[in-house]
């Protein structure tokens, strides 16, 4: 039986009806990873515990126990700690690091019976938009292997697109779920900041990071979001709000709903295929009964500089713990002893981190330095608050904002790696949601002439994820491309 293009709901049904066991299903995906991933490079490591977990899930199914994901295989971005399974953040710094604890997200998935297939590739410490910054090599785009998968959750997106996992967990600090989802033609959901616990997720930028699902369908994304959301006593920034049953409440009729188009997003130069898919999306939401209105977010042009100030500043502090003292990479001091404590740090960190990580640590350190703090970090914080106000105003006029995820479809491997600024501009449409803390979703719409996927982005006000799933489902139904897999998969 083929499971590669099935949704989580379809797989659940097969498991519940005992048409297939979790062990069979897990083995199916593990076999596919073994035969297809060498080239794609979506996984950093496959879990040797997967079949044991699947066996346990089967026992539970036999015993009549329930679980929202009982027996369903999932892939985890290698930024989330998994007890007993190497967690690297795609960095030489953490190669071989086996955490003694699991992220809350992983615990929640496992407590619902999910089976962890393995750990997925990413840009080192989630810093990048193409997955080319991984110590373990770039992830390729399954639709065309000369192209990037996007990043930083490139492995999570490519694995779902190629049918190497039915659903995966990614993290999104400035677009790291939504952008690769768009590039690979899958659904990517970033919940409201505070919905999902960050405990056990290697921190990049604490005030922006949020985990979420990458999946084949919007309804799957809703289900996984339900499972991983909720207050966590180990993360003070999680919300105590109750988590709605989003997947059971999806309403595809958009009658009475207002979809806002951000004027400024359409003033920038969009690739013709992106424009084309946007136009289709606008037609689709109208068809579903929504009213389309124009809104203005004049400060969104500052989202990129503000984002890079905030994200790098927080990162410079978050990554200070990787010093080679307690765990992680340590230079060979037997061969050449350290001349001083500074030398010890410089060698561990100089050799352990990749160049993009070092660039961002330096940027952030500079922005927080005395004499520069007011001009950079503090100013960024002020603009961030103003931007949040503008978004709030926009949501008085509409229920959901719709726009592009990126200005272009996936670009070629190596094309932008030497130009960090060009690479950073990738995030122009996605960073605002993180800065403001609102939920955002990327939904696959169609393909470019070159056959590369293009998605559209939806954003709503904080804690109103339901409207994203409603509009997303209406679009998905009309685009009708989710069953398709790239050639060779």
């Amino acid at each position: 039986m083929e499971f590669k293009n099935k949704s989580v709901f379809e797989l659940k049904e097969l498991l519940e009806k005992k048409t297939v066991t979790s062990v069979e299903m897990t083995k199916y995906f593990l076999d596919r990873i073994e035969s297809l991933d060498q080239d794609l490079n979506a996984y950093i490591q496959v879990s040797d515990k997967a079949l044991d977990e699947a066996k346990k899930a089967d026992d539970k199914i036999q015993a009549g126990e329930k679980g929202r994901l009982l027996g369903v295989p999932v892939g985890i971005k290698d930024l989330l700690c998994t007890r007993g399974i190497q967690t690297t953040a795609a960095s030489k710094m953490l190669e071989g690091f086996v955490p003694p604890y699991s992220a809350t997200v992983v615990e929640k998935l496992q407590s619902e019976g999910a089976v962890v297939l393995g750990k997925l590739n990413l840009d080192e410490f989630a810093m990048g938009s193409s997955n080319e910054n991984s110590y373990f090599g770039a992830v390729k785009n399954p639709w065309n292997k000369e192209y990037v998968s996007g990043g930083s959750s490139g492995g999570s997106a490519a694995a779902v697109a190629a049918g190497l996992a039915p659903v995966t967990i990614g993290t999104d600090t400035g677009g790291s779920i939504r952008q690769p989802a768009s590039f690979c033609g899958v659904v990517g959901m970033k919940p409201t900041y505070g919905r999902v616990s960050r405990y056990g997720i290697v921190a990049f930028a604490s005030s922006l990071d949020q985990a979420g699902p990458l999946s084949r369908t919007v309804k799957d994304a809703a289900l996984i979001s339900e499972v991983i959301s909720g207050f966590d006593e180990n993360d003070s920034t999680t919300s105590e709000r109750s988590v709605p049953q989003w997947s059971a409440s999806i309403n595809e009729s958009l009658k009475g709903k207002k979809v806002g188009l951000v004027k400024e997003y359409f003033e920038s130069k969009l690739h013709e295929s992106v424009q084309e898919q946007m136009d289709r999306a606008i037609e689709f939401v109208k068809e579903a009964g929504a009213e389309v209105v124009e809104v203005s977010l004049s400060l969104s042009r500052l989202a990129i500089p503000v984002y890079y100030m905030v994200a790098t500043s927080e990162a410079s502090s978050n990554l200070a713990r990787y010093d080679g003292v307690r765990y992680g990479y340590r230079s060979n001091f037997d061969e050449k002893p350290a001349s001083s404590l500074d030398d010890f740090y410089e060698r561990n960190r100089g050799e352990g981190f990749g160049s993009e990580v070092k660039r961002r640590i330096m940027l952030g350190t500079y922005a927080l330095s005395s004499g520069y703090y007011d001009a950079y970090y503090k100013k960024a914080g002020q603009i961030r608050r103003l931007l949040a106000e503008q978004f709030q105003k926009a949501f008085e006029k509409c229920d959901v904002l719709m726009g592009p995820v990126t200005a272009t479809p996936a670009f070629k491997l190596g094309d932008r790696i030497s130009d960090p600024l060009e690479m950073y501009l990738n995030d122009i449409f996605t960073t605002s949601a993180n800065l403001v803390g609102i939920p955002g979703m990327s939904v696959p719409m169609g393909f470019s002439k070159e056959g590369l996927p293009v998605g559209v982005q939806l954003m709503s006000s904080s804690f109103s994820e339901q409207v994203l799933f409603d509009v997303g489902s209406a679009l998905e139904q009309r685009a009708d491309i989710w069953k398709g897999l790239p050639n060779g998969y």
Binding site: L80, S236, S313
Partner: protein
């Protein structure tokens, strides 16, 4: 060279370990003397992905101390990251409070040589401790048991003018911490630390001089000694035309000297910013009121009450209120004895001497406040003499028994019955006829001999007053 008239300007930063069971941001134990690296978890090890969560008890204890120091309690205060690299700092930053501390603008009052001083408190903020490094020649070891232990840093204004004042200020802060059970104030175990900022200027100069920070001071005596040394060093510098550098100096108590640790050129840029992992600490009026109501009477107020209510000298009142338990003990005893000054004398001399000698806390005193009161009353009623009472006190200390029982058991009650003493005197005079003759013929020095013999005969129980009266009458008749 003519010596100018210098004055010193001193401010203290006191770090007090908050008496919580668990750490500032994790559930790890704060127990002292656990094995190396036992009180740790992903949070205090700084593992990837670990997050801090504020210990509410630590906030409450900090509010308590803030109120006792007459501080304003901020409704919204924030935690900030202080970034620097050190091997025993697991996250590469310390979580502290920066420009929005919990407690601000308070003051504390205390006496120095009978004069009341009022010293401003600039702020008191919460932070976590680092771990501990020990260096062993070619390698260093790190113990992270202390990493994350909650501290309250209490910063005084630059209001202290002499080393003695500084030490007295530190003692007062410690006293309040202990009154409130906010911190055990143990300097040797490191649950309290004291850094001193000191500069000198000519008397009347409008500006402060360049300040030097002194660290590694682990007793109040050394606060005084280190400051005395450092002030003299700075005066010598100035008078020989040398510059004073802003720097951190370590105090070496065995040499009684301060040594430069790091200069301003190497000073860190800590790159403070609000910790995005933590929400603002919100303290509403109801919480503050609740904590305010729980505050005990504070030491200075209590000392002043002792002076007025019990008519004790200030000296007594200050000593008796040093520790809450001691003041409680005293008040319990006075309730029974109704003899404040006599009770005070017994507590301050005999009881405190014994406690000091045996390094005991008042809570460990083998003599209960009731028993001490009983002893004071027996003296008052002349049931025993003061001299006997000291003997009884020693027995009470050894056995924890009541003075009444001990007096009975040891046969120590005072003989005041005149006819009984007359019998004793007559017996002594009869046994020493030669001496009586000598006395009567002018050798009056022998009087002491007769007193001694009579006391011996009475086993020391004769009331000295009565004995004197009768003996004099008999001999001189």
């Amino acid at each position: 060279m003519a010596t100018k008239n210098w004055e010193s300007v001193i401010g203290l930063e006191i770090h007090a370990q908050l008496a919580t069971k668990s750490k500032m941001f994790s559930s790890d134990s704060t127990a002292f003397a656990a094995g190396d690296n036992e009180n740790v978890s992903p949070v205090s090890l700084g593992l990837p992905g670990a997050l801090p969560v504020v210990n509410k008890q630590a906030v409450e204890l900090s509010i308590k101390m803030g109120l006792a120091l007459n501080c304003e309690i901020r409704e919204v205060s924030r935690f900030a990251r202080k970034n620097y690299f050190y091997p025993d700092l697991p996250k590469g930053y310390q979580i502290s409070q920066y420009d929005e501390p919990l407690c601000e603008e308070g003051f504390v009052e205390f006496y120095v040589d009978g004069e009341k001083k009022k010293i401003r408190i600039e702020r008191a903020h919460m932070e976590e401790d680092a771990g501990k490094s020990t260096h062993h020649g070619g390698h260093s070891l790190i113990n992270l048991n202390r990493a994350g232990v909650p501290l309250l840093e209490i910063v005084s204004g630059p209001d202290l003018r002499t080393p003695q004042e500084a030490a007295e200020y530190a003692r007062t802060v410690r006293q309040i911490l202990r009154y409130l059970d906010v911190c055990d104030g143990n300097l040797e175990e490191g649950s309290m630390r004291c850094d001193c900022n000191v500069s000198i200027r000519e008397v009347g100069a409008p500006k402060f001089g360049t300040k030097v920070e002194l660290k590694n001071i682990n007793s109040f005596r050394f606060v005084e000694k280190a400051l005395e040394y450092e002030i003299q060093r700075q005066i010598d510098c100035k008078e020989s035309g040398e510059e004073i550098f802003q720097e951190t100096r370590l105090y070496d108590s065995t040499k009684n000297k301060t040594f430069s640790m790091r200069s301003k050129e190497e000073a860190h840029d800590y790159r403070y910013f609000v910790d995005p992992d933590l929400l603002a600490v919100r303290v509403n009026e109801a919480w503050v009121s609740k904590v305010r109501e729980s505050l005990p009477e504070l030491p200075l107020a209590r000392a002043e009450r002792f002076q007025s209510e019990y008519e004790l000298p200030q000296y007594d009142a200050l000593i008796l209120t040093q520790e809450k338990a001691l003041a409680d003990y005293f008040e319990q005893a006075v309730k029974k004895s109704s003899q404040p000054k006599a009770t005070s004398n017994w507590v301050m001399t005999e009881l405190l001497r014994m406690l000091n000698e045996e390094k005991k806390e008042i809570s460990d005193s083998p003599i209960s406040s009731d028993h001490l009161a009983e002893l004071v009353l027996m003296i008052e009623k002349k049931e025993i003499s003061g001299k006997m009472a000291k003997q009884v006190f020693q027995e009470m200390w050894k056995t924890s028994k009541s003075p009444k029982d001990l007096v009975k058991a040891l046969g120590l009650s005072q003989i005041t019955d005149e006819s009984e003493i007359e019998k004793i005197v007559d017996k002594v005079l009869a046994a020493n006829e030669k001496a009586v003759e000598d006395y009567r013929s002018g050798k009056t020095k022998l009087y002491g001999f007769f007193v001694g013999q009579a006391m011996k005969e009475s086993k020391g129980q004769a009331s000295p007053e009565t004995l004197n009266k009768i003996l004099k009458a008999r001999l001189d008749s």
